[in-house]
Symmetry: C2
Subunit: 227 residues, 2 copies
């Protein structure tokens, strides 16, 4: 489903250049769940942005569901992403002028689904994250953790072959956080692949293996399934 | 330093009204450090916003450093807040058109300090949170955890008598998170009062006591210092 081969990423030019990733390789099969941990600034979000086609790598190859992302135009990448990748951004990126239900329905409507079935699917996705009845509220009428759960529902909705979740439970209490991990695990067991960036070891334990990043390099990989 | 007496908060009108706080009382002396925990949506951020004078309570009394906040105009509240309260917002609220150093210097400059000493103080505050050398970067050139640390440096800078931190370590790895707690504890030991909202029990353990919120009510308070 996902193949990153020797991916590097540099931000900025010459003296101000920051090397965010240095030759990272990662392969995910269908039904595989990988966690990524590492200190702040080590390249975790950059890895997800490149895997999801939102950022171009400076070097190396990226392919998602068989499509080679590096050779494509931004429009081609966006189209491939819409039907394949579900993304939960670290910065949430909710559209403040849309209600919770409209935000969650957005990926489905952008993919051509009619409004009425998209909104129905959004309502049940919101219920799955414990936000039934909040569909008509705008993001700024909700708490930080409630907003994060809207972003999670939007990232998990629809048939995705790859889910990329960037610290999705950072604003949640441990009970709510575990419920979200259970949901993510169920999506993987139903057949998609997922990468979870987290700072919580007990959340990484839900994955099949954990990759550790430090200064843009993969320094450890727990390999086989956790016993 | 802070006294909340029977504070209630309702958002919205009539049938859509949400009762965020229901008669909450909390008193903080100088040098006292209180943690607040509770499920997502239980009223933690609302409590901090009211304690810091950013939101008006629907009922009850609020006084910070002897000033009664409820009777004041927004301008009077803002002036009292600038010289008294340091705030770390859950949503960060960084000014994207300012650099990291300019964001951190802002509370000092708004309080009348000249640019040059304010920037020098900002540079050392950024170093205290592990971001030396990032002063000239803009927020969107930094990772999520780096942005959170800018917001923390801004909330702790200058002589504050009350620090209100709303889940300041949600985006940080455990090593960086502990370093931030140590910094907050040092500010309290130097004489200010602080409230920390957190979902991590091991971070709440740094405080003198922990208050638990549920559906807008204080349901538990560990009272005396943790043994
Ligand atoms: N501006 C607003 N308008 C309407 N309702 C609001 C507003 N802000 C918060 N609420 C509601 O008030 C309640 C308390 O919100 P608050 O932000 O204080 O929760 P919290 O405990 O900080 O939660 P979290 O852990 O998710 O950040 C929630 O039910 C929320 O939906
Ligand atoms: N748009 C950008 N422009 C310049 N530098 C950037 C940009 N985005 C990230 N960086 C830099 O690249 C490095 C990696 O950033 P990244 O966001 O991938 O870190 P991260 O591991 O996700 O950290 P965190 O845990 O704090 O979210 C950091 O040093 C950061 O400052
Ligand atoms: Mg990140
Ligand atoms: Mg909150």
């Amino acid at each position: 489903v996902l193949e990153l081969r020797d991916v590097s990423k540099v931000y900025g030019e010459s003296t101000l250049a920051v090397q965010a990733l240095r030759g990272v390789s990662l392969t995910l099969q269908q039904g595989e769940f990988v966690a990524v941990m590492g200190p702040s600034g080590s390249g975790k979000s950059t890895l997800l942005q490149i895997a999801g086609g939102m950022e171009q790598p400076s070097a190396g190859a990226v392919s998602v569901a068989g499509h080679d992302l590096v050779g494509q135009t931004p429009a081609e990448r966006a189209a491939a992403r819409l039907s394949t990748v579900g993304f939960v951004f670290q910065s949430l990126n909710l559209v403040s002028s849309l209600t919770a239900a409209e935000n969650v329905a957005l990926p489905l409507e952008l993919n051509g689904m009619a409004s009425r079935p998209a909104r129905a699917a959004a309502a049940s996705a919101l219920a799955e994250v414990g936000l039934e009845g909040c569909g008509d509220k705008f993001p700024d009428e909700l708490s930080g953790g409630q907003q994060q759960r809207i972003a999670i529902a939007r990232g998990l909705i629809g048939e995705r072959s790859l889910i990329l979740a960037d610290e999705p439970t950072g604003a949640l209490d441990s009970v709510t956080g575990e419920a979200i991990l259970r949901l993510l695990r169920a999506k993987v067991d139903a057949g998609c692949a997922a990468i979870l960036v987290t700072h919580e070891a007990r959340h990484a334990a839900w994955a099949d293996r954990t990759v550790f990043l430090r200064d843009g390099l993969i320094v450890d990989d727990t390999g086989g399934p956790q016993d």
